[in-house]
């Protein structure tokens, strides 16, 4: 065969091969090219989405309120879909065509996340119904109602907000949920059995967890007492009488106030039970801040401090009696890592954080990562066996504000787990709904650790795009985009600091910029979005520029009207950072970050404020009847008209009869001969004295617990006549037996106390008394030789308790008296 033929045959064979190969290659190249275009388009659309969200939140004053935030998220997702369909050439009208290719959009926010996914939901139709308006006129209202018959269909929608929660179970009784956020703020709710307590208690607490060693403050107890006293007195004293009172006067008024009036006032955030217990505890010196060993008082204390934080406290007068016209902080000397913090918002952050941290360390320090369980209560395999004590932050090794701390790592894992689980469910659901007849199944793509890191620390949007045909292949991809210019989170790098340079120009810098002047200790830092200029049109359609309120305020107070970004650290961003930040810089950072974090909107912060109304009293265990348990001289909690220091005088176990006597005089009574009808004879005199003293005793009757009251010393036989032996008085014997004769240490009223016994020495009419050391029996002469005298001593009532009184707690000592119940 000629070589020419061979050539032709070769060409005949080779040419198609080359052509087919070339066409195939070209197709592959085209497919790759299209896939690449989709990549870019998906990325662009996601960026558009997050940018729409940023724009909406930054310009929306109410963006941090949950409902408004949901609207912003929806707007962001709509922007994404519209942008995507425009990019792909569908046009905005046909964007529904795109929906089947979007299995899920994840939108993570500060304390939880939204998933936008197809959901099987009931289809509703709009209809007009008749209704009436406020004035009763008939109007037509458009509303959505179920179709008849009911129709269910797939619809792409925002699923309900999911919080970053993890449930922990430890032992038999502790079972609670922690709601994590993108920073060190956590919300704890559930049953927690505190260390050393027998029963679990339901708690709801939230706050910024930190390392307690870093924060310190001084609590001015007198000022706090003044605030608390003032708060309570407002309900007792006539309006506006408090306005001009000094600190000392407020405290004095509180000491003498009739607190029982409070019990009936609804507005006071003291439930009746709580009020009762508060008054019991308050009776001694009425110093509220010292009473920290009681749960309820703890709650009251917390609520008051919260109120102080929320309302900036009313004016508290100075200690020296001069009224000064500014708010004095109850907390002073607030320090973070040894540096004084002066800004009030920043102070609040640190104080609240320390208080919350101490609570967490006291109650949750033994919880381990391995205690995390799923909805069904089964241990989560991801954390199984881990003995890392995530909530223990007081050992110096676990600072939740640091990225590499155990808490932060666990928090990120929990958030990741929660998102993964729910996203998987959403995508599986999507498979069922859109691809049940298709030949392939879509699964959630594996996100890499860098992406998870981004998602668990920033507000971010993750879009999934799956199932679009590209040539002979199917295009699947996802994009993670995060945002650091929004109102929802705060990061150290997002705070810029203001400075004026030598020629008088004001610039803002990053904290480690060499051009930031650090020779003063009051460098002000604000969040990056605050420096944005807002543009608007005025009536003449001119562009009007304005800074936001915070910057405007600074501009006004310092008479600057221009603030520029530093050309080194803000505009260019590539600068030589300062290696070692000095204390002024550190202080500026600590202050700014705390201030911004304190001002972040937290959906669940109300948990702390509402702590009073959610308080559930622990179950009561009856220990027995008082007469069986208590010994003579023991202390009991009996409160009536503000006096609550009572001891057991006598008891009769057979009928459960117990008499209690006040530990000291309850008040001073002045007996004057001229008021006692001394001229009508001794018997009338005795009667009058008894009437007066009995009246005093009756004042301390409590309808719930007591049967009757009298004043000590009522012995008929010994009280009348001349020469009766003082020590014959039976009450005195009882007092000697129970060791309650002396009132030495706790009698604030006078040098002794009256007995109900009168005695006559010839023409002298006497009322008997005992000195406060209990050693001397005296006869107070009120009438002698036709002359009347006046004498003043204290009074000690004796109360006979109801014979159904039971003991539910306490140990009978002065500090821990027997707790009574019926």
């Amino acid at each position: 065969m000629k070589i020419q033929y061979m050539g032709i045959i070769f060409i005949i064979i080779m040419m198609p091969i080359i052509l087919v190969l070339s066409a195939y290659m070209q197709m592959q190249v085209d497919n790759l090219d299209i896939a690449l275009q989709y990549d870019t388009k998906l990325f662009e659309a996601t960026l558009d989405g997050i940018q729409a969200f940023e724009l909406n939140t930054v310009n929306n004053r109410f963006s941090q309120v949950a409902d408004s935030l949901k609207r912003d998220v929806e707007a962001g997702i709509n922007t994404f879909i519209t942008s995507m369909s425009n990019n792909l050439g569908f046009g905005g009208v046909n964007n529904e065509y795109l929906l089947p290719y979007i299995p899920a959009v994840l939108f993570t926010l500060y304390d939880g996340y939204y998933i936008y996914a197809p959901t099987y939901a009931e289809e509703l139709e709009e209809t007009e119904i008749e209704d009436t308006d406020i004035d009763g006129k008939p109007i037509k209202v458009t509303t959505e109602v179920s179709k008849n018959p009911t129709v269910f269909d797939h619809e792409n929608m925002l699923k309900p907000y999911i919080y970053y929660t993890t449930r922990y179970k430890s032992g038999q009784k502790t079972d609670f949920i922690v709601n994590y956020t993108l920073d060190n703020y956590i919300i704890v709710y559930g049953n927690i059995q505190a260390n050393g307590k027998e029963n679990a208690e339901y708690v709801t607490r939230s706050g910024f967890l930190s390392d307690p060693a870093n924060i310190s403050y001084t609590l001015d107890k007198t000022k706090l007492d003044t605030v608390l006293a003032r708060k309570i007195l407002e309900y007792i004293l006539p309006p506006r009488t408090l306005d001009n009172m000094t600190q000392a006067q407020i405290l004095e008024n509180f000491r003498t106030a009739d607190l029982t009036r409070l019990k009936n006032i609804d507005e006071v955030s003291l439930t009746s039970e709580m009020g009762a217990r508060l008054f019991e505890t308050m009776k001694n010196d009425r110093t509220i801040s010292d009473m920290r060993n009681d749960d309820i008082l703890d709650a009251l204390f917390d609520s008051t401090i919260n109120e102080i934080f929320e309302n900036d406290v009313d004016k508290i007068p100075a200690t020296d009696g001069n009224i000064i016209d500014e708010t004095i902080d109850v907390f002073s000397d607030v320090k973070y890592k040894g540096l004084s913090i002066n800004d009030s918002d920043a102070k609040r952050y640190y104080i609240k954080s320390l208080r919350f941290t101490n609570w967490v360390n006291n109650n949750l320090s033994n919880i381990e990562a391995g205690d995390a369980v799923d909805d069904m209560g089964n241990t989560l395999t991801e954390f199984a066996g881990s003995d890392v004590k995530i909530f223990k932050t007081d050992d110096g090794k676990n600072d939740p504000e640091k990225y590499d701390s155990e808490f932060t790592q666990h928090r990120m894992n929990c958030i990741q787990l929660s998102i993964q689980t729910n996203l998987n469910t959403a995508i599986a659901q999507y498979n069922v709904e859109f691809f049940q007849e298709k030949t392939y199944n879509l699964t959630m793509p594996l996100l890499n650790p860098v992406e998870w890191n981004e998602i668990t620390n920033n507000i971010s949007m993750v879009t999934f795009f799956q199932g679009m045909k590209v040539g002979n292949k199917v295009y699947n991809n996802y994009v993670v985009v995060s945002s650091n210019k929004n109102k929802e989170t705060i990061n150290t790098d997002d705070i810029y600091y203001i400075n004026t340079d030598e020629v008088g120009r004001t610039y803002y810098h990053k904290s480690d910029c060499p051009y930031l002047k650090d020779d003063t200790n009051n460098v002000l830092g604000l969040k990056n979005i605050d420096y944005d200029v807002y543009k608007d049109e005025d009536k003449e359609k001119n562009l009007v520029y304005s800074f936001n309120d915070r910057i405007t305020e600074i501009c006004n107070s310092t008479s600057i009207d221009e603030i520029y970004g530093c050309y080194h650290c803000i505009v260019n961003r590539n600068y030589e950072p300062v290696e070692n930040l000095n204390n002024n810089r550190l202080k500026a950072i600590y202050t700014a970050i705390a201030k911004e974090k304190n001002n972040l909107y937290k959906v669940n912060e109300y948990y702390n404020v509402d702590i009073l109304s959610t308080y559930v009293a622990p179950p009561v265990t009856v220990l027995g009847t008082l007469s069986e348990i208590a010994k003579l001289g023991d202390y009991v909690t009996y409160t009536s008209n503000g006096y609550s220091n009572w001891r057991i005088l006598s008891k009769d176990t057979s009928v459960n009869k117990v008499e209690i006597i006040s530990d000291g005089s309850v008040q001073t009574v002045s007996l004057a001969g001229r008021d006692l009808s001394t001229s009508s004879g001794f018997a009338t005199f005795t009667e009058k004295v008894r009437d007066i003293l009995q009246n005093v005793a009756n004042y301390y009757l409590d309808s719930t617990y007591s049967a009757n009251a009298r004043v000590v010393g009522s012995n008929e036989d010994a009280s009348v006549g001349t020469g009766a032996q003082d020590t014959d008085i039976p009450d005195v014997a009882k007092m000697q037996a129970s060791g309650t004769l002396s009132t030495n240490n706790n009698d604030a009223y006078s040098s002794g106390y009256w007995l109900l016994s009168t005695a006559r020495d010839d023409d002298k009419y006497n009322v008997m008394y005992i000195t406060q050391d209990g050693k001397t029996f005296g006869r107070g002469t009120l009438f002698a030789g036709g002359t009347n005298y006046t004498k003043e001593y204290g009074v000690r009532p004796i109360i006979t308790l109801n014979n159904e009184v039971k003991v539910v707690g306490g140990s009978g000592t002065q500090k821990d008296p027997w707790q009574l119940s019926l």
Binding site: G7, M14, L47, N491, N542, D561, Y564, R573
Partner: protein, 173 residues
């Protein structure tokens, strides 16, 4: 004699048909693949900068390696248009004819590479525009073969070229 001439011509034609055309075709496909690989790498590289706000030397090295894997040598040009927001920060404008709100100045490859070499990263901010363009500097096989037939090549003519640009969406920290 005439036969011999035809034979020689036939052999040459056959050689061209049998070797050069397939080779040209394969070489061109090869360039297409290089092109798509370079385009993919460039888009990924730029989009990563846009999403993170920073250019790290490890990313840059990976990018250069991906390009090198195509067997060609490339010239990479990076340009960052730095947004100067300050002209828009004034609350009051002295005159109505202002220069504009957003002014950009540029930084080019050498400045960016300097920064990258000394610090290992180059930071950008939200609103900046980053653009990267690459073209091959060597002569690829298909260029060589084509030159053999029809000389259209000259200085600055390149076969593999990719460009991608976009606005940065995150402040680099």
């Amino acid at each position: 004699m005439g036969d011999s001439l035809i034979t020689v011509v036939a052999i040459m034609v056959a050689a061209i048909l049998m070797f050069v055309f397939p080779m040209l075709s394969v070489a061109e496909r090869n360039d297409d693949i290089s092109q798509i690989a370079v385009q993919t790498a460039t888009v990924e590289f730029v989009d990563n900068i846009r999403a993170t706000g920073k250019l790290e030397s490890k990313d840059y090295d990976a990018y250069v390696q991906k390009l090198a894997a195509t067997g060609n040598s490339y010239d990479i040009e990076v340009e960052r248009k730095v947004l100067d927001e300050n002209p828009s920060k004034k609350l009051t404008w002295a005159e109505s004819k202002k220069i504009g709100e957003n002014v950009y100045y540029s930084q080019y490859t050498s400045q960016i590479m300097d920064e990258l070499n000394t610090k290992g990263e180059y930071l950008l901010k939200e609103g900046d525009i980053i653009s990267v363009s690459v073209k091959n500097t060597n002569t690829t096989m298909s260029q060589m073969l084509r030159n053999f037939f029809y000389t259209v090549t000259g200085q600055g003519t390149y076969q593999v070229f990719a460009k991608h640009a976009g606005m940065v969406l995150l402040n680099g920290n």
